[in-house]
């Protein structure tokens, strides 16, 4: 056995140098984390940029974030400078030789999603994640994600406008995530992100006001990890049938978490809130993952994916 197992993964036709994908909304537009000494983009398979709409959006009034037991709520509200600005002013300055950058497309109508896809088509992003499950905007977002047919319509609208892989981010809040997965795959989705945040709220008992100005927010962090694993498990069968990869995510903070996600069926591993615990967690996670693979005589991350042992057929 080699001491360095192969951590590269193939995902929707792309080759990622590691299975770690930094999640949209946690890492700004790709450069913020380079502020931290010791940060290395080469630990990262891909960075998904902040959710982008056709026109600029200011985002929600504060408070936007609040800590909860083993997690946090957020309602940022898709603050972004608009797709054209991102393509013209941000993407040219990113270190594309160090890692890949993916867009995260948002809209209030299938037509707006399609226009965002068209704008990113002529850009160096290597894939486009479709956010049909943002819980924090009044129109679009999770409303598409909770209705499987609307979700599929968004993917259909975008598909003709881009040759890049489309990765649909599924909501854990929908009634039947496997059905949504099936419909978005049939509509042309090349990959799935599972899961987005759960919708939640918190109350300030002194003022009796919601802590988050938006009232509700997206719940993330280790508290949602069991839900994420189960949703991946539910999605895995339909995804595997169509040979569609899953970017598994939800509360991963260390190598043990990552192994659990891989075993259940995560072809790549999404890191979000975990960065707030430790911005340099990715290097440590990869070391731990390599140790695990060596200990189990596995030559690559890919061999681990979907290796869940169950008594049920």
């Amino acid at each position: 056995m080699s001491n360095s197992p192969d951590l590269s993964v193939s995902f929707a036709g792309l080759t990622l140098q590691t299975p770690l994908v930094l999640l949209s909304g946690c890492v700004g537009f790709g450069e913020e984390y380079t502020r931290v000494e010791g940060w290395d983009n080469r630990n990262i398979g891909a960075v998904i940029l902040k959710g982008t709409t056709l026109e600029p959006r200011m985002g929600n009034a504060p408070h936007r974030v609040y800590e909860t037991p083993s997690g946090m709520l957020n309602a940022i509200g898709l603050q972004n400078p608009g797709a054209r600005y991102v393509v013209e002013n941000i993407l040219p300055n990113l270190p594309h030789e160090q890692t890949q950058f993916w867009a995260n497309a948002n809209g209030t109508s299938p037509e707006e999603y399609a226009e965002v896809a068209r704008i990113f088509e002529d850009s160096p992003v290597t894939a486009i994640e479709i956010n049909i499950s943002c819980p924090n905007v009044k129109e679009g977002g999770v409303h598409f994600g909770n209705d499987p047919r609307m979700a599929a319509r968004v993917v259909e609208a975008m598909r003709p406008h881009t040759s890049k892989p489309l990765i649909t981010k599924l909501s854990p809040n929908s009634a039947d995530i496997a059905e949504t997965a099936r419909l978005v795959i049939e509509a042309g989705s090349d990959g799935l992100s599972v899961i987005n945040t759960l919708v939640g709220m918190a109350v300030d008992i002194e003022s009796r006001k919601p802590v988050i100005n938006n009232i509700s927010g997206g719940l993330s962090g280790p508290c949602i990890k069991p839900v994420a694993l189960w949703k991946i498990h539910q999605t895995r069968a339909v995804a595997a049938k169509h040979n569609i990869p899953i970017l598994g995510q939800g509360g991963i903070t260390n190598a043990k978490d990552a192994v659990e996600f891989a075993v259940v069926g995560a072809d790549a591993i999404g890191i979000g809130t975990g960065l707030f615990y430790d911005p340099l967690m990715c290097g440590k996670l990869l070391d731990g993952l390599s140790d695990y693979l060596n200990r189990h005589n596995l030559g690559s991350y890919t061999e681990l994916v979907g290796s869940l042992v169950t008594n049920k057929a």
């Binding site: 913020e32 200011m58 946090m72 957020n74 603050q79 809130t273 707030f276 430790d278």
Partner: protein, 290 residues
């Protein structure tokens, strides 16, 4: 953006001292040589208070000793996170990100910096005064608290214009360096100005000659009602005013846009990140304080 690369350090900060003061105030000295070497007044550190908590806590820097590699922090245990922090013992290590944020601009040697701090907003003022003292800068510190001040005090040997003679106490570490300071409190604390600290600063400014007052710049950190009052004083005397803000914060390095404040710049409303665009903002950009 590129010039910010590698400016924030993740250090395992060892607790060297942790002292409890009245009113749930704590002064903590940690060993964090990289932060100590680079930190500037107005910047903060982001502490992981417990392995179980998802979010770190931003705490402003009160003083650094670059030679010994130490960083001093003052905080109040007011919520669960800061309570967990207060349980850390000497010898413990705390994962610490820092230094973070745009510092106060203290570069203009023709100015007198009026440093107005309230409660846990006092530390950046101590740091700014220390920085200015080392560079021959001109400043006056006004600090307000409703509980006993968490540092040594001594009667001041200097008179300050406009300041009631009963307000005789000063912060000892500043007094010993001949940096003038005065204290304000509504809690009837001996030797303090009775009232809110912005009023104490206002009395001082009103007593200056027009010529002297024009040189003044207001820098402030503290609770929002206090910052509102400081902004009013700044407007009354038409003085540049800079406020250090706080907001619920997640990443602390600009990635999540969780900790925003509304600004108006060239007529355009924006949400700016308190962590890396701030925490210091010109009051004139902040509609909440305009």
């Amino acid at each position: 953006m590129a010039n910010h690369q590698g400016t924030i350090f993740e250090e395992q900060a060892e607790v060297l001292a942790h002292i409890t003061h009245p009113g749930d105030q704590f002064v903590m000295r940690v060993k964090a040589p990289k932060t100590a070497a680079k930190a500037k007044p107005g910047q903060f550190v982001h502490l992981r208070v417990s392995d179980e908590r998802a979010l770190r806590r931003p705490i402003s820097i009160m003083l650094t000793d670059p030679e010994r590699g130490t960083v001093d922090l003052l905080y109040k245990a007011i919520g669960e996170g800061t309570r967990l922090l207060s349980e850390r013992k000497v010898g413990d290590t705390i994962p610490m990100l820092g230094p973070i944020g745009e510092p106060f601009d203290l570069s203009d040697t023709s100015k007198r910096y009026i440093l107005i701090g309230g409660g846990v907003g006092i530390p950046p003022m101590i740091f700014a005064a220390d920085h200015l003292y080392g560079r021959g800068g001109d400043c006056v510190v006004f600090a307000g608290s409703e509980v006993e001040f968490p540092f040594a005090l001594k009667p001041s040997a200097t008179l300050l214009p406009g300041v009631n003679g009963n307000a005789i106490l000063a912060i000892r570490s500043l007094e010993e360096r001949e940096v003038p300071s005065r204290l304000a409190s509504n809690a009837g604390l001996y030797g303090c100005y009775e009232g809110h600290v912005p009023n104490l600063a206002r009395d001082y400014l009103a007593a200056l000659s027009d010529e002297e007052r024009k040189r003044c710049v207001l820098l402030s950190c503290g609770p929002h009602p206090m910052l509102h009052a400081v902004a009013r004083v700044g407007r009354e005397f038409d003085l540049p005013t800079f406020l250090s803000l706080e907001e619920h914060m997640a990443c602390g390095i600009g990635g999540c846009a969780g900790c925003v404040v509304k600004t108006v710049e060239n007529g355009e409303e924006k949400y700016r990140r308190v962590c890396v665009d701030g925490p210091v903002f010109p009051a004139e950009l902040l509609p909440e304080f305009a």
